[in-house]
Symmetry: C2
Subunit: 477 residues, 2 copies
Amino acid sequence: MVNFTIDKNKNTPLYIQIFNQFKKYIENGSIPQGYKLPTIRSLAKELGVNNITVINAYKLLELNGYVNKKVGSGTYVSQDIKQNDLTREDIKALEHGQILLNKNMINFSSSSPNPELFPVDDFKIIINKVLERDGGYAFEYQDTKGYMPFRKSICEFIKKDEIDIDYEDVQVISGGQQGIDVVSKALINFGDCVFVESPTYSWAIASFKSRGAEIVDIALNKDGIDIDELEEKLKIFKPKLIYTMPVFQNPTGISYSEDKLKKLIDLAYKYDTYIVEDDFSNELNFSSNKHLPLKSYDKYDRVIYIKSFSKIYMPGLRLGFIVSPKNLVNSFAEAKYVSDLSTSGLMQRAFEIYLREGIWKKHIERFKKIMRERFDEMKYLLSGNKYFEVNIPDGGFYFWLKLNDDISAKKLYLKCIERNVSIVPGNMFFSNKVDDSHIRLSYASCEADKMKSGISTLNDILKDIHNEENSEYIPIV
Amino acid sequence: MVNFTIDKNKNTPLYIQIFNQFKKYIENGSIPQGYKLPTIRSLAKELGVNNITVINAYKLLELNGYVNKKVGSGTYVSQDIKQNDLTREDIKALEHGQILLNKNMINFSSSSPNPELFPVDDFKIIINKVLERDGGYAFEYQDTKGYMPFRKSICEFIKKDEIDIDYEDVQVISGGQQGIDVVSKALINFGDCVFVESPTYSWAIASFKSRGAEIVDIALNKDGIDIDELEEKLKIFKPKLIYTMPVFQNPTGISYSEDKLKKLIDLAYKYDTYIVEDDFSNELNFSSNKHLPLKSYDKYDRVIYIKSFSKIYMPGLRLGFIVSPKNLVNSFAEAKYVSDLSTSGLMQRAFEIYLREGIWKKHIERFKKIMRERFDEMKYLLSGNKYFEVNIPDGGFYFWLKLNDDISAKKLYLKCIERNVSIVPGNMFFSNKVDDSHIRLSYASCEADKMKSGISTLNDILKDIHNEENSEYIPIV
């Protein structure tokens, strides 16, 4: 059925080689759910390794949720391991509202605000200013690291988040996804290990996997990543990086406590790895709790901070930046060059003015006011519901719902679509686990006046499914 | 000194595994120039393989220029194998004129035209038209494959090159380099083989290598790629793709004959591989010879056509497109999504108008006239020179000079810089060979009135070097 090969000359310990191969075969379905693994002795003999090597590999598989041990019976592949992805098209559609949502659709799926909220008028003026001032030079190749005045204005801009850096540490990118891709190119080689929060943003995983990385999940608690699990796994694997969204996480809305932020940085230092911080919405804090970026605590220069301007300003800018640890600046520049040479000069020059002249503050004020209304309305509408539990975030765009009574998220999703409500089923945020009990609701693209009707429909459907499920199981006696 | 491992379970033939490892060690300098390889018998014994396996591996190394056989003595690593790259910073600087060339510098190095030639005024009008018409929608995420009206206008546009396709085959990209990167992501996995012309564009190689590809060179003759060498190597390796620039190649200016274009496509079909055609300047034909893109001959749907708008229109657009074989359309879309989600909507919408309304024709006419003057002047200035041979291209931006009398290209390059003339030494266009006898001159950024003085300086320096070299070797008797 499957073929195991181990290479004793490799640096990777043998038990991790065995673990990686099981992982691959389980994920791609070559080893099906419920399959009983070979006994320790037989596999050890077949591979010519010690029993303890196989024992350690099986322990790792268990630790990562791939297998369950049944006492006295053996080790079995988990029934809830993910073996088939949702199609990529679905994910794309849901993440960015790229499917033509019909006009009457109530949109709880898009991560980006409706275009009516974009600061287009200001931009029109600024773009013309740039064209007037710079002419053809706005359309030349720009420095790969970014247009220097723009990099300088970024340094001023992020002082608001208590991040104090030199423009030499700034790498301009064409949006957050390119940031992830550039970091992947620079740091990840075939066979490297990457840690991610579970659940997390699926297209970050796609980028790491595209470089041949092995993905290891770390559970997310209500106050951030599970530090104990993280350290336990750091001792075993040697990840090239830990991918995180410490503020208003996608999809859970969770923010790390200050204590966890500090511990995370200490662990990165202790185990000699890097943390990628993906920040797309830290401006949207609706609580009285301070939520500074992880980067502002980065005393060991271990945080690669990726900032996107897409969600809070406009996706179409295709702009963002990386704040890089000193020793990675040139690697990121080279990766950026290989990717697309440089980012649009026109947009960099326009956004430079936007930042330098403080025009962004006006937009944020207005934007935050509108989002605050939506946030409060969502919070109100989602409270005290018996069909799900919801974790109220301190800000950002996302509410993450855990469905009660075994209600199927997939069924809910499909029925919502029928009734013109679009939501995101939780399954797509898990890298290797099947999840059918969570959904993500975003209000980025949903006006406050539509929410009531949307959540009311959601409730009707939940009630129907709940009743259906219960009636199905009433025994006829 | 080095470690060889071979894996008999792998699909790759053993002699190719051995070849690949020698190649790696020779390229990274672990096995130095002039080193004598182990005898066939001793290596075969050490690796536990047949003599014939080692013989085949050594033959391959010889075929690819890594080693020379000396009869009765053994096999030695070539003296002219490339073991140290020029620094990446140098290459970047030279390719795109990103170093701050001092104002008085005569620029024969840049590949992109001076900004004074960009159609900025037309674009200013069009951008405002788009902002007026589409408002915030111009700044939304666009479809990953591209803004549909733009894709449709591209289909009309390339009918000029006798390429007739459906908009479904078009993938919009943010410039030619991203096209290469997207194709690499979609097709190349760690250990795959890629064929390139020798010499070729170094940042294509960087992209392939970043995916873990093994690069194999194919010589370029005056009428295109060496078809016999290509077929010989196709029989041995199974390349994922063959990267080519069939019209006005970078750096040589060479264009393929129609016969070679057809043969290339037949070979791709016969050996089940793809050809990447990188086209950045086919509009600049100054001859009466027809130079249609390879894609227009693509009867087997084997050509991945990458078109950049950077060199002929404006680099700052960050726009281009891939015409994809039907079966690769979705792979490219996924790779594009992982790379940066989508390309700027504003630029796509603006260029859609530019193409649809035929405004590009006006620009090309003016642009071609100016480039023609420069081309003719260069041709005149470079003719009948005793220090180099030059191949006069049919169009494009590049003249490729072969220096006579062992004049060192590197020395020439350094002396030119001192005298405020910038040229590109040929070395950077070879993936594994040291070259010190070619230079590339581009007139993209060099006004006709500066050329005379630039070439005259070049000639002075050539004369000096030539005299120096000769005087050094006069024996004192």
